[in-house]
Symmetry: C2
């Protein structure tokens, strides 16, 4: 509908910045309408999509490299929690007219960096102008042996509950950025650049019974497991792994952690998987009869939470 001439055209932009990211054979260097992808025999495809909007999911003045990498990683985190091996992604980028070429160059460099780190390629996408904020919609594709995807559904009464890494760092980092603080850098880094727990996801195949990535907040996401598994997930407040100085209640409801929360029947098997993956895992609770996800204090009383997680909308 618009027909503006801008200082760089869509096709030049794709050719210059994004084609080098699409070097896998089936992507045809982004010179075709679509990409092809072979799924290895005995495997099935796992697909997920997440969109990030400037000043909703990240700060417009965050470094372009980390914006790109976060957009990719929140999708890879979904694949990780499903035990899937990522293959590639499609990127639909809606760009405000004032985006500078240099910003896009850094954005593409961030993607390139993570493509190398995670062994994936850009398979296609679309760039378009928008009168609104920068919007990054990514669809990530991975593979998993047939029928082996880790589901949210499947938690059973008596399962133990686990979570990887630490919870609440990203939320604390976001709170710091909101009040223009620059330190502790480690917390801000956790907000800007989450770590998809891919190796843990692989190792949990056949070990975990239910699994989710923590994006909305630990209690909210465990609530999703509880809902589809038709069980009650009970978390011991004292066992939740939080970094020094991070408030527990904020931590379990903040979201943006991109850790894996899961249930499993056998502690030993989980700990072996964690060691194999090189990812710290903490036992934090138990699955009971009932519904919902609840936090319990040392005396066994339920800790009331005003909200269970971050509402995207």
């Amino acid at each position: 509908m618009t027909n503006s001439s801008s200082k760089y055209g869509e096709f030049a932009l794709i050719a210059d910045l994004f084609a080098p990211l699409a070097k896998t054979p089936g992507a045809f260097g982004l010179t075709d309408d679509a990409a092809t992808l072979a799924v290895p025999r005995g495997h099935e495809l796992v697909v997920t999509a997440d969109a990030l909007v400037a000043d909703v999911h990240f700060f417009a003045d965050d470094p372009p490299e980390t914006i790109a990498r976060k957009a990719l990683r929140v999708n890879l985190s979904d694949l990780a929690a499903k035990g899937a091996k990522p293959i590639g992604y499609l990127l639909a980028l809606s760009l405000p007219r004032n985006v500078r070429y240099d910003w896009l160059r850094k954005f593409a460099r961030g993607l390139a960096k993570d493509q190398r780190e995670f062994g994936i390629a850009l398979l296609g996408g679309d760039t378009t102008a928008t009168p609104g904020p920068l919007t990054i919609a990514i669809t990530a594709l991975g593979v998993v042996p047939k029928g082996k995807m880790l589901r949210r559904k499947g938690a059973k009464v008596g399962d133990l509950v686990f979570v990887s890494g630490t919870i609440g760092d990203a939320g604390a980092g976001l709170a710091l950025l909101k009040r223009k603080a620059r330190t502790p850098k480690s917390l801000i880094a956790r907000y800007r650049l989450p770590t998809p727990r891919l190796s843990l996801g692989f190792a949990l195949r056949g070990v975990a019974r239910a699994s989710i990535d923590v994006s909305d907040g630990l209690m909210a996401d465990l609530g999703h497991i509880a809902e589809v598994s038709k069980v009650r997930v009970v978390v011991d407040a004292a066992r939740v792994p939080v970094s020094r100085g991070v408030d527990l209640i904020a931590a379990v409801t903040a979201g943006d952690d991109y850790e894996i929360a899961f249930t499993a029947p056998k502690r030993d098997a989980v700990m072996r998987a964690a060691r194999k993956a090189g990812v710290a895992v903490t036992e934090i609770g138990i699955v009971e009869r009932g519904e919902g996800a609840v936090l319990r204090d040392a005396k066994g009383r339920e800790v009331r939470l005003k909200k269970k997680g971050y509402a995207h909308f």
Copy 2:
């Protein structure tokens, strides 16, 4: 980052409106982080992504049903031009806060209608708030027998050039809408609701040598074929199928047609494929040595075009 309470939450929205669209087994009714998809033996996946932004790619006050269906169909059109059979799609929806539930209900109804028409299912997605315009990013997935995807690359000197349907209707429809005209309704309908030529795409497998869907404008899209095939595509102006009252030059540069433009060595095989598919196909030119896509008049002179197509950005 925002944490607004809106009158409908993200999860309620997904459950109410979008879960019924995800009834295929691997989509898990949108209750999981990801969907699974099996690719039939001997086939490979074909993936494509296109984003539409309100008041860039459609009018914000277009009917919600046709907005939804157009967003889906522009993606299905890419699959059609590649000879792929669509299976499903992922939808990343960025919604302005003033979007009403009733609008979304109609939007979802439009998707449901086209899912039935094209035999596809919603596999996943994301809804998020945006301070900007409604943005619809869709990734469509299809399958094709291994190695049989129709490519833009592959046109050879001596090939004939063809296009399906009529060219320029959608562009004329857009021009009408821009000046608040309401008729002819047929042209406006072609702008609002393109027809992906899926049956033609299937029939052209093994028949066409190069193929593209006409989204940027006939001459621009044939230019893409010319570029990657390293040939010159020559179109006879008099042969381009345009509807009565539609200006030829506007037609071949307007875009939004979602017809298939392709080259093939054998006229008879093309016409058989077109009959089989039940889609009108017109021979419009020839592939020569050289580069670029050019329009020639009845005397063999090149018709100069100020622009070859619609610039999205």
